[in-house]
Every structure is written in C-alpha cells, then in structure tokens.
Symmetry: C2
Subunit: 227 residues, 2 copies
DNA sequence: GTCTATAATAGGATAGAC
DNA sequence: GTCTATCCTATTATAGAC
C-alpha cells in the first residue's frame, strides 16, 4: 500500500476533531447566553454553519456534547493549575497561586465553572474519562498543602481532610459569589474575586505554624492593612 | 348587605391561598427530583390532584410560580436568621449563629438554596417584592458585624464591605460545597457543612481586635485543637 | 459529510363547556 | 374552579437522498 493513501486519512481526522472543537466552542457560547442547562443544538448548528442533524456526525447525543465540554473544562482547569504551580516557589506560594488561578479560571470561564463545579445539568453524570482530570487536581492541591507543611509554612493540621476541605470551600466560595453577584465582570473588576487574597491570608493565619509567638506578634492586623 | 355574605368570601380566599401553598410545595418536590431549572407544571398539577390548565387559576405563568418560590425562600431565610439572632447574645455570637443557620438552611432546603443563591433558572429575574427580604438579610448581617466590632470582639475592619463580603463568601462556600459534593446529606452528616465552625474561627482570628498581643499568644493553634 | 424531511415528544398556554 | 380539547412551539433524534 502506497504511503500516499494514509495522509488524507489523517487530514480528515484532523478536520473532524477540529470541527468537534468548533462545535464545543459554539455550545459554550449558547450556554453563556441561554443558561448552562439550556443547550440548544439547533442554535449551535446555526453558529457553526451546519444544520442541526449534521451535528450527529460529531456527537452521538446532546449528553455527549455536555460530557465533552466537561472533560475539556476539567483538562483546562488542571492545565491552569499546573501552570500556576510551575511558576512559583514550592509550598505556600504554590498553594496561593493555585487557588488564585482557580478563581481566575472560574471568573473567566463562568459557563465551564458552572458545569464543572455545581451540578447545573440535572441528568448529567460525567463519564469516568471526563471526570478523571479532577482527581489530579485534588492530588496537586494535597501535594502543595503537604509541601507547605513540610517547609514550616503551615501547621500540620492544614494537611488533613478538614484543611483541604476548608481551602476548597474558601476558594469556591469566593468564585461562586463573584459568579452569582457580579456576573460578567472580570477578575479585577468584581467585588468578590479579589477577595481570594485576604481569604488566603486568613487561611494561612489560621493554620500558622505553632511555637511562633514571635511570628504571631508580627501579624499585621486587618486594620493596619486597610487604614 | 347582611354580614353572612362576607364570611364565605374569606373562606374562599383562605382556601385559594392554601391551594397556592400546596402547589408551591409540589413544585419544590418536582424541582428536587428533576432539577431546579426543570419545573414541569403538568407534573406539579398531577401531584396536587389537578389538571395542568387549572394551575392557571393560581398562577399567571410558570415564571410566577418561580417568583413565588423565590419570595417564599427569601422570607424563610430571613425568618431563620431572625430566630438565630434572637436566641443568642449580641455581637460575635449572633454573627456565628446567623452564619451557621444559613448553612443549615441551605443544606435542609437545597432546592430553595439553588434558586436563591445561584442563578439556576436562566430567564428568571425575581420581582422587587420577592427580592425585598434579602435586603433585610444583609442589613441584619451588617448590624451583627457592627455590634461585634463595638463590643471589641472583632477589629473595626470587619465592619466593612470587604469584611462582609468575606463572611458571605466563606459561608456560601461551605454551603455550596456541601450541596455540590455531598448532596442529600444532612447538616451533621456531610463533610462540608460542619466546616462552618472552623471557618468562623478562622474569620474571627483574622479580624481579631488589635492591641492584644497577649490575646494573640492565647491563640490555640489548629494542631492543639485537633490532636 | 451534509442535506431535506420528518418523526416523536413534550410542555406552556388559551378557549370554552360545565 | 375545574375540566376537556386544542394550539402552538420548541427540540431531540432518525431516515434516507445526494
């Protein structure tokens, strides 16, 4: 078999995958305008220049579209966290960068954020494949917590189920308040997203390493920070 | 006109309002099973023993049902907060009771919580009337913050927009994590709802009154709390 | 791989009898 | 105040031609 037969096949595959991505992009647009739960395939098709039945060449069902979006979102979140972690010193600085990146991701991708972090689509149960990246997210977060403790930046109890859950609740709370109360505003505009900084200060103070009365007295009170 | 003519009219009004409440109860059930955004009036009618068109004697539209639920939920939340505030000493204790009550309310009424605190129904903009009780909720919270500062339980910067927003984000974060990750579990079962206690400790520590280095050294570290 | 045509269903809302 | 009957529209999904 001549090699020339195989190349066009790759090309077709590539175009097929490209079209899938375009469809997902359009789906996100539609969900942004109509609501996360109101994905309308006819409208999606219109935006990519197809008729609605043609979408079934790319996705088996509407649920498959949701699932693909879920996977894409989870991968995106994971990538953002890895970037944040890679660009900072290990330990508490990494932890702070990761949580800030999560809030930024949520604010910049409100639709994905709704899809991933709340259960906004009633019947939707993400496939194992789509869900998998989030396991890595948790592992990364645990590792950062653990490193921060090992470096003496946080006390040991930060690296526990409760410590992790508190951190997640804190971060998620900041993000979801911004999405609920200041939708459509950027990371730097809204009233809530910027709270991730003091929120992490709060967390670090609460889980401050013991034995450091000297450290505690160095603590700058909120009034001094905000005169 | 004889007085006897007026009494049955009151009775009819009463029954009418009673039926409205029954319809709202059924609507909550349906939303609980199908998803907050998937309110199905035919199913609601079936549950209250009516045919779907008969509902229009009680509500002008599906949106009107949502709006009534929104108002009912907001009133319920406000009532719960007032109860919590009334049963505690003023200041920080009141604040803690109110935030804990909010998390409890969210966990015990997940559907209402979704409806009130996230925008889960795309087109839905609550009427001014339905939204009004939430203004009182914010006022109550501000008052409690202010009292806690006046009593020397928190430093002055707690009684600011940022202090309020942080508190709301913290509380909302705990509640929404529980709803997203441990749905269907009670206040005492889930992994997240109980975090409201340490979360409030964290908040109180961060906004601890100044000038008390002695106070700071009295601080019990998390490791000592959780041996 | 894209189309037209169409099935199949669902669900909100109205008209008018009783 | 409740019903039956019906309208209207939207939307997922399939069949089959090109």
């Amino acid at each position: 078999m001549p090699r020339s037969n195989e190349v066009p096949i790759d090309r077709q595959r590539r175009r097929h995958l490209q079209s899938r991505e375009e469809i997902l992009d359009a789906a996100l647009e539609v969900m942004d305008e109509a609501g996360v739960g109101d994905l309308n395939l006819t409208e999606v098709a219109r935006r990519v220049g197809l008729r609605q039945p043609s979408l079934y060449q790319y996705f088996d069902s509407k649920t498959a579209v949701y699932d693909a979006l879920f996977e894409r979102g989870m991968r995106g979140h994971l990538a953002v966290l890895r970037d944040a972690a890679a660009g900072t010193a290990p330990g508490l600085a990494t932890l702070r960068a990761m949580m800030t990146a999560t809030v930024r991701f949520s604010v910049e991708h409100p639709v994905l954020s709704h899809l991933l972090f709340t259960q906004s689509v009633p019947g939707l149960t993400p496939s194992e494949r789509a869900y998998r990246p989030s396991l890595e997210v948790v592992a990364l977060t645990r590792a950062a917590l653990s490193t921060a403790v090992a470096r003496g930046e946080l006390c040991a109890s930060a690296d526990s189920e409760q410590g992790l859950s508190l951190l997640i609740a804190l971060t998620g709370g900041v993000a979801s308040q911004q999405l609920a109360n200041d939708p459509g505003t950027g990371f730097d505009q809204g009233r809530y997203a910027r709270l991730i900084e003091p929120a992490l200060d709060m967390y670090a103070l609460y889980f401050a390493p013991e034995g450091g009365d000297g450290r505690l007295t160095q603590h700058v009170t909120p009034d001094e920070r905000n005169p």
